[in-house]
Amino acid sequence: MSSFVIEASGLSKSFGQTHALSGVDLQVRTGEAIAIMGASGSGKTTLLHCLAGITRPDAGTVAFQSGAGRVDVTALGERERSRLRREAYGFVFQQGLLIPELTAVENVALALMLNGMPRARAEEYGRGWLGALGLAGMEDRRIGQLSGGQAQRVAIARAQVTGASVVFADEPTGALDSATSAEVMQALLDSTTGQGRTLVVVTHDADVAGRCTRIVDMRDGRIVGERVPGVAA
C-alpha cells in the first residue's frame, strides 16, 4: 500500500482562455498537512477542487487511496464523486458557509445524517466535536449568534465529524484576525494531523502555512516550488 492518500498527475484545467492549471503533479502523504500558497489567481482553488473531486480536470488524473483500495477519482461520475466527498472528505471554506437557519450542532450533525446516521446519534457526535473544539454550551446557537472564529470551528467540526480521512480547507482563516486565525488553525491541525488524518490547506497567510509540514508554491497554474517550513526556499 502506498503512503500517499492522494496522487495527482498531469492536471490541467482551463476556463475559456484562462489556463487555471497547466500540468500539475502533486502527491499528498497520509497524515501530512500540506499548504498551497501563491498569488491570487494562481490556481490554488482550482487545484484544491480537482484534488477533492469537485471539479473534473480537462486532463490528468487524481487517485484516492483508502483502506478500501485505490479509486481513480477523475473516472468517477458526478454522483460517485459527491458520495466520496461526503463520506471520505471534509471541507472548510473561508466564509464558514454554514446553514444559517440551523443550530451549530445541527450543522455538524447534518454531515452525518447525509451519510444515513440517525439524527439523535448524529447530534450526539456533533456535540462531542463541538465540545472538543471549545464550543461547549453553544451547540444550540444559530450561526448568526456566533463570532467568525466560533463559526469557523463549527465548520471544522462539520468537516471532521464524519471521520473524513482528508480535510480540504480553502483560506480557512482568510476572514479572521491574526489571533483568532492562529487559534482556528491550531484547532484545524489538532483535529486532522493530530489524529493521523490529512490536511490540504490553501492559504495566503505565512503563519498558517508555517504550521504545516510542507508548503507548495504555485504561479500561473503550475507548481513552482516546494519547501519545508522554517527552511529557506
Binding site: 459527491s82 466520496l84 446553514i99 444559517p100 454531515a111
Partner: protein
C-alpha cells in the same frame, strides 16, 4: 458622489443581470394580470340593463378575491427588487455614501425596475386581449372592444405598480441595517402573539353570525355585500392565524425531523413563518374560494333546473366567472412562488454551491426547499378550506346533501392549486442545479 454611486448601481454583471431581470419579470406578470382582470371586469359595466347590475356586483366580488393574491405577488416582486441590491448598497456605504443617499438610490432603482416591468406587462396584456375577448358572457364573446382598457386605466395601473414598488422599497429598507460591513436583517422579527388567535376566533364568530343572518336576507345586493364583508373579514383572520399555525407545525416538524431534507425544510420555515405564509397565502384565498365556489355551484345547479332562461344564463355565467377567478388566483400564487424561489436561490447561491462541495446531493437540497413551500401550503389550503366550510356551515351542509359533486369540485380545485404551485417550484429547479454546480 452621486455620479460615482449611479455608475456603481448601473454597472452590469452576471449576477446583476439576473438580479434586475427577475423583478422586471415579476412586475410584468403583476401588471399584465391586473390589466387582464380589470379589462374583463370593465366589459360588465357596458351593460345598462337591470341584470347588468348583478353582473357588476359579481365582478366586484371577483376583483376583491383577486386583489389579495395579486397584492402578495406585487409585494413579492417589490421585496425581491429591494433585496436584490443589498450587497451593492453595502458597497456604497463602504465608499462613503450616506445612508440617506443609499436609501434614495435604492428606491429610485426599484422604481426604474418596476416601470420597465410595467411597460413589458402592458405589452403582454395587449397580446392577451384577443384571448380574453373570446370568453363568453350572456351568450356571446366579450369582444376586443369590451375588454380593451382606455389610456387613463392603463396609466393608472402603471402608476399603481410603480408606486407599490417605491413603497415596498421604503418599507424593505426599514427592515435592514445597511452598514459598510454588509446588509443585515434587523434582529429577530417580532414574535407572533397569542392575541392573534383570540382575535381570529372573534372574527370567525362574527362572520358566522353574518352568514346566518344572510339566510333570511332578501336583496341580492345585501347578500353580496355581506358575502364581501365575510370574505374580507375571514381573509384578515387567516392572515392573523396563518403564520402562527405554520410556526407551530414547523416547530414540531423540526423536533421530529429524521432526514436532512425534513430538518432543513422545517428550520427554514421557522426562520420566518410570516414569509412562509406570505408565499402561500394566495392559496388561502383559493381554497377558501373553492369551498364557496363548490357550494355555490351545487346550490345554483339545484335552483337552475326550475329557473327561466335568463337566470339559467346568469348561473352559467357565474360558473364561468368562478372558474376564471380560480384560474387567475392560481396563476398569481404560482408566480409568487416562482419569484420567491428564484430570489431565494440567487440569495443563497454560494451556500448551495458549498453544500454541493460537501457532497449534499442536489435532490436533497431540492426536496428541502420543496418541502419548505409545500408543507405550509398544505396547512394553508386545508386550514382555509375548513375555515370556509365552518363559516358557510348551513350552506355547505345543504350542498353535501343536494349535490355531492360539489365536494369533488372542491377537491379538484385544491389539487389543481397545489399542482400549479408545484409547477412553480419545478420551474426554478434548473436554477438550483446551476447554483449548486457553481455555473
Amino acid at each position: 458622489m452621486i455620479a460615482r454611486v449611479a455608475w456603481l448601481l448601473a454597472r452590469p454583471g452576471t449576477a446583476g443581470a439576473a438580479a434586475s431581470l427577475l423583478p422586471v419579470t415579476a412586475f410584468a406578470i403583476v401588471t399584465s394580470l391586473l390589466l387582464v382582470v380589470l379589462g374583463g371586469a370593465q366589459s360588465f359595466w357596458t351593460w345598462p340593463d337591470e341584470i347588468g347590475v348583478t353582473y357588476q356586483a359579481l365582478a366586484v366580488i371577483a376583483l376583491v378575491l383577486l386583489v389579495v393574491p395579486l397584492a402578495s405577488l406585487g409585494g413579492a416582486a417589490a421585496r425581491l427588487s429591494a433585496r436584490r441590491r443589498d450587497d451593492r448598497l453595502a458597497t456604497l456605504r463602504l465608499l462613503g455614501a450616506t445612508p440617506a443617499t443609499v436609501s434614495e438610490l435604492a428606491v429610485l432603482e426599484s422604481v426604474v425596475l418596476a416601470a420597465a416591468g410595467a411597460v413589458a406587462g402592458v405589452v403582454l396584456y395587449f397580446l392577451l386581449v384577443p384571448l380574453v375577448a373570446l370568453i363568453p358572457f350572456r351568450g356571446e364573446a366579450l369582444g376586443v372592444d369590451g375588454v380593451l382598457l382606455g389610456v387613463p386605466a392603463l396609466a393608472a395601473v402603471f402608476g399603481g405598480v410603480v408606486l407599490l414598488a417605491a413603497a415596498s422599497a421604503v418599507l424593505g429598507l426599514r427592515q435592514v441595517v445597511i452598514s459598510p460591513l454588509g446588509v443585515r436583517t434587523k434582529q429577530d422579527a417580532p414574535k407572533l402573539h397569542w392575541l392573534r388567535i383570540v382575535l381570529g376566533i372573534a372574527v370567525i364568530a362574527l362572520a358566522f353570525l353574518m352568514m346566518s343572518v344572510l339566510q333570511v336576507a332578501g336583496s341580492v345586493m345585501i347578500i353580496l355585500g355581506m358575502l364581501g364583508a365575510a370574505f374580507g373579514g375571514t381573509i384578515a383572520v387567516l392572515n392573523l392565524i396563518g403564520p402562527w399555525v405554520i410556526r407551530l407545525v414547523a416547530q414540531s416538524q423540526a423536533r421530529r425531523a429524521k432526514t436532512p431534507a425534513r430538518l432543513l425544510a422545517a428550520r427554514s420555515v421557522l426562520e420566518s413563518p410570516k414569509a412562509a405564509w406570505r408565499q402561500v397565502s394566495g392559496v388561502a384565498m383559493t381554497s377558501f374560494m373553492a369551498v364557496f365556489a363548490g357550494t355555490g355551484i351545487a346550490l345554483l345547479d339545484s335552483f337552475g333546473e326550475a329557473g327561466d332562461v335568463e337566470s339559467q344564463q346568469l348561473f352559467a355565467d357565474i360558473r364561468t366567472g368562478i372558474l376564471i377567478t380560480v384560474i387567475g388566483s392560481f396563476l398569481m400564487v404560482a408566480s409568487s412562488v416562482g419569484v420567491n424561489q428564484a430570489a431565494g436561490i440567487l440569495d443563497r447561491g454560494e451556500l448551495y454551491r458549498s453544500l454541493d462541495m460537501l457532497g449534499m446531493p442536489t435532490p436533497t437540497m431540492d426536496a428541502a426547499r420543496r418541502r419548505a413551500v409545500m408543507s405550509p401550503l398544505r396547512i394553508t389550503a386545508l386550514g382555509s378550506a375548513v375555515t370556509a366550510a365552518v363559516v358557510m356551515l348551513p350552506l355547505t351542509g345543504a350542498a353535501i346533501i343536494v349535490a355531492p359533486l360539489s365536494l369533488a369540485v372542491i377537491a379538484g380545485v385544491l389539487a389543481a392549486g397545489i399542482g400549479v404551485v408545484w409547477l412553480g417550484l419545478l420551474a426554478t429547479k434548473p436554477m438550483l442545479e446551476r447554483a449548486a454546480a457553481g455555473a
